[in-house]
């Protein structure tokens, strides 16, 4: 015993009373061991926890591995395909900005002809 300080006697007395009360109500050794044996036979909750954590980790790892590869295999959609075609591809469909010099002139036209190409109507 190391509490040699006489002023500790009050604390010691209180703890002794507590100990007496608790000891009288404690279950026997045999009973506690029997309960431990039952606990041993019972399926462990920790094992189910391990399974759950393992399954979740496996799913997360799989997702981390598979998702980037899927993204690699799928080529990104070209932006040009998504945009509407503004320029006509065939010559027949005409040009958006016909040049008065090189464009196909069709009369009547509201394009201004250069003077040397002016002809009387």
């Amino acid at each position: 015993m190391n509490h040699e300080d006489p002023t500790d006697a009050d604390l010691k007395a209180r703890f002794t009373d507590l100990r007496k009360a608790e000891t009288s109500g404690a279950p026997s050794f045999a009973r506690t061991l029997a309960a431990s044996r039952i606990r041993e036979a019972r399926p462990r909750e920790t094992s189910s926890l391990r399974w759950k954590i393992g399954a979740l980790s496996a799913a997360a790892t799989l997702a981390l591995l598979v998702v980037p590869r899927m993204a690699e295999k799928t080529p990104p959609t070209s932006l040009a395909k998504a945009l509407p075609v503004l320029l006509p591809r065939s010559a027949d469909s005409g040009r958006l900005f016909p040049s008065p010099l090189f464009g196909e002139s069709r009369l009547p036209s509201d394009s201004v002809l250069p003077f040397h190409l002016a002809f009387p109507l």
Binding site: D8, L11, S28, T32, A35, S36, R37, E40, L49
Partner: protein
């Protein structure tokens, strides 16, 4: 049913059983963990050979260390079950209706006050006071059980005593 890995060791723990009950109760003070569950799990560790004395120190200090660690594990497990992650994993509430015999004890007013005061102390301080005054161990033995240095245990002891006296002096019957 698993094998009894070390029946001699289990039998040698019998004389320490009542002290172990008191220590398990103290380790669960202020938490919702059942001391009976803690003690049974600690015995199970011994039976299964998961806990073996290292040879350093006495059997009592080793056994109390096992109980202390088991109580901490049970508290962590309980906190996890009550956490959002635990609820998502659909854990049932822990320890309801389990080994409640150990925690169902009628105490007189003085003992109830002492326990209430101990719950208000920091864990280390209440542990060292319990080990010294209740279990009659030396501060160095308490230090081994708590896994702290002797100097640290002494400091916790002195501060704990002063704080406990202060708390008890403010209790209603004084």
């Amino acid at each position: 049913m698993g094998k009894w890995m070390n029946p001699d060791l289990t039998r040698s723990l019998e004389p320490l059983h009542h002290d172990a009950c008191g220590w398990a109760r103290h380790c669960c003070i202020g938490s919702h963990v059942d001391p009976g569950d803690v003690l049974q799990t600690a015995y199970l560790k011994v039976m299964q050979g998961k806990a073996r004395p290292s040879g350093n120190g006495s059997l009592k200090t080793w056994w109390f260390g096992v109980i202390r660690l088991t109580a901490k594990e049970e508290q962590r497990r309980r906190r996890f079950r009550e956490s959002l992650a635990g609820k998502l994993l659909r854990f049932a509430p822990a320890g309801e209706g389990g080994a409640r015999a150990l925690s169902r004890i009628e105490l007189d007013e003085s003992s109830r006050e002492l326990k209430a005061a101990l719950t208000q102390l920091p864990t280390r301080q209440s542990e060292v006071l319990h080990l010294v005054f209740y279990q009659d161990l030396s501060i160095s033995e308490a230090a081994v059980i708590m896994g702290v240095s002797l100097g640290s245990a002494r400091t916790h002891y002195e501060r704990g005593k002063a704080r406990l006296r202060e708390l008890l002096s403010h209790s209603p019957d004084r």
